[in-house]
Symmetry: C2
Subunit: 420 residues, 2 copies
């Protein structure tokens, strides 16, 4: 086998541990210099491949690459750019192959969610039909935890931990204030389609009286009357009410709560998130003083409170991707396989990309309590190990030391400027 | 000197380290059992004293009290309840003295902001005139960092650290996404009157291109035109723009930016915070895709990322308060005195309550850059040591282990039910 270079790119919304995966890919490739040449990263994801804007990761020190393991965000830039079907976007796929050929790239590692796995699969197919062999390995990443065939997705565990820690802390705060001041706290979390992240907030409640008292899932149609009854019940019995609401919370007819809310002075919709809408709704119905928070990017960038399980798994899928490639495999994705709950044990497995692509894993109904406001023991058993362990970044002068790479470009070899 | 009991209460908005102060008070009092009897805590702050609802902290184990040092919020409950002047509220002050007398309380420790120092001062005065001696010691606490005569306030350093860490992390995230997606990120932080907390965000930027690129202070009148120019400049030169905005950001005429914003479907004002208002304003003017976050209580409850300097100082002021009382002092507040910047050194000082009460310490003009969007080196020198050091709480199953006290009530001795 001639020595080929590797391509690695990050795709979609970044996470606090996607760089740990990059670290796993690059460190593992560096250990096999006899078989893998350089690792080229796509600047801003797949766009970097399409425009032949490649980053030469061999210019980075071992120390800088190691620091990726504790650095949130996408070190090479990510992008929201979906390649369509082969029929619609054939020129783009052919361009990818042309760039890979020009740079002697034989390994394609694409780190992202469902769309990325689909792209990887198509690259694999096309490389065969075009007669330029490329081993395409998809690597899972998504805070949404919605990829199939893997027990969980790297990136999710750390958001889950952030949300559980934050609502526990805010719950303690509100409990202190409730006698004369704030009685209701609403925290909005990510998850447009599935309630995995909101569910993780439920881990903070170990007793009935603990925050959060209510979780609003996208999976459960919002019923204002029942909700208000529950809020009043909590304030009456626990002194306060702490709520985690998914950005995807919706009414029975599918309307998002967030959309039902505010228009600004100019008549624009969607100014606010769902948290202020829910908070105001409670104020109107009950008069309770409220506070609300919208964590937004803070939750998925919060490397300072990352889950050690998550960091370990993120690194492991990167490492496994390279090892699979070295074994000659293609069109697969490393998965996380849970082998035991007590104690929690996991190992790396593999799934065929064709089976991963474009399948969304929803939260099982059995994970939500019958009243629709909480998580079941089964859900806890699933989620709990994913947030376990702390993996603190190094600090200097009170601030986490995250690495910014040099990101030196590989000289272009193709003459045409391709516009994606 | 006969052995008197002590009263301790928490006042106003809680912090992630006010319980460290409680720990300092109780542990130090327990070391002097020859001189101080029991420490009674006010349930829900001063309301507990007024209603004779006292908590017997001697029922808590040494371990539980030690755990207060790493537990956010107010363990005994706090309240937003201000005693007015002696003339207006004489019955309340007399009631306090009556409750203290009934429970043989000779030490009054009141842990809060400017109002609390004022109350402590009045208790001291009245106890003299009523012939029941009470040593009243105020203990500083406020995330707003606005108490005079102390270099800084316990509670502030940890919020400052949270804000600096969070905007650094979110900045990394946005930088990854900016090529094809989010270009502007707006994070709202506390500080209705002073920009101390917003300023702390500036610590995250060590280079010109680092987040945050813009800070909006309450001290600087908002100029939309200049602001938009700066936002565009940042996106052009750094690829993205990360903004920290104080909830107190305002126009020249004093109108809060937050108030100028949204009305909901029912015509209600003040639904949202200032972050969505600023984000939408940018979108309208530039078309840039944005994200925004409102940290709200998360920032002041975030014990998981507390500053070690802050925790140490919070404990120290509690300890010093008891030691001052044992030396026979009254009507004073322990302060933090900075003795050196390089290396950072501090010691405990004292200030007369009469000089502390009702004085707000504003941020010096020399701490804000001439363009009004950043912090000066002088500001950095002041702020930097306050966020230094990490002091992680213990974790179990991925979650911080915060203590919930038993909070057993002291049997009442007075017959009347006083309604505050």
């Amino acid at each position: 086998m001639s020595k080929k270079n590797a391509f690695y790119a990050q795709s979609g919304g970044v996470t606090s541990v996607i760089n740990a995966t990059a670290c796993g890919v690059i460190e593992t490739a560096r250990k096999h210099k006899d078989k893998i040449g350089k690792v080229y990263a796509g600047r801003n994801g797949i766009i970097g491949a399409l425009t032949e804007d490649l980053i030469d990761t061999s210019k980075e020190t071992a120390r800088a690459i190691a620091a990726l393991k504790h650095t949130p965000s996408g070190a090479f830039g990510s992008c929201r750019y979906k390649l369509k079907s082969l029929d619609e976007s054939r020129a783009q796929y052919e361009r990818l192959i042309a760039v890979f050929k020009a740079h002697n790239i034989g390994y394609f590692f694409y780190n992202g969610g469902g769309d990325s796995q689909d792209t990887s699969n198509k690259v694999s197919q096309l490389s065969k039909s075009m007669g330029y062999p490329i081993q395409a390995i998809g690597i899972p990443k998504t805070v949404d935890n919605d990829l199939p065939l893997t027990d969980n997705c790297p990136g999710f565990g750390s958001v889950a931990k952030y949300v559980a820690v934050s609502i526990r802390e805010a719950g303690f705060d509100v409990a202190s204030m409730a006698k004369t001041s704030t009685k209701v706290f609403v925290m909005e979390v990510m998850g447009r389609h599935a309630g995995w992240i909101a569910a993780a907030g439920g881990l903070a409640a170990e007793n009935e009286s603990d925050a959060p008292h209510i979780i609003l899932f996208p999976e459960v149609a919002f019923n204002k009357k029942v909700f208000m009854q529950r809020v009043k019940h909590c304030v009456k019995h626990y002194g306060y009410c702490a709520i985690v609401v998914s950005e995807g919370a919706r009414y029975k007819d599918g309307t998002f709560l967030a959309d039902a809310g505010s228009v600004d002075a100019f008549g624009h919709k969607q100014l606010g998130g769902v948290a202020p809408v829910v908070a105001q709704m409670i104020k109107d119905a009950t008069g309770y003083k409220y506070h609300w928070a919208v964590a937004d990017y803070l939750q998925r960038a919060a490397r300072h409170i990352a889950s050690k399980t998550d960091v370990d798994q993120a690194y492991a899928v990167g490492k496994a991707a390279v090892e699979f490639a070295l074994k000659g495999k293609t069109a697969i994705m490393p998965t996380i396989v849970r082998t035991s709950n007590h104690p929690y044990r996991w190992k790396i497995g593999e799934a065929r990309l064709a089976r991963v692509a474009n399948v969304e894993k929803m939260m099982p109904k059995s994970y939500i309590t019958p009243d629709g406001f909480g998580i079941t023991q089964r859900c806890r058993t699933y989620l709990s190990p994913l947030i376990r362990g702390e993996d603190y970044p190094p600090y200097k002068n009170g601030l986490p030391q995250y690495v910014q790479l040099k990101n030196i470009a590989v000289p272009k070899k193709l003459k045409d400027n391709f516009m994606p």
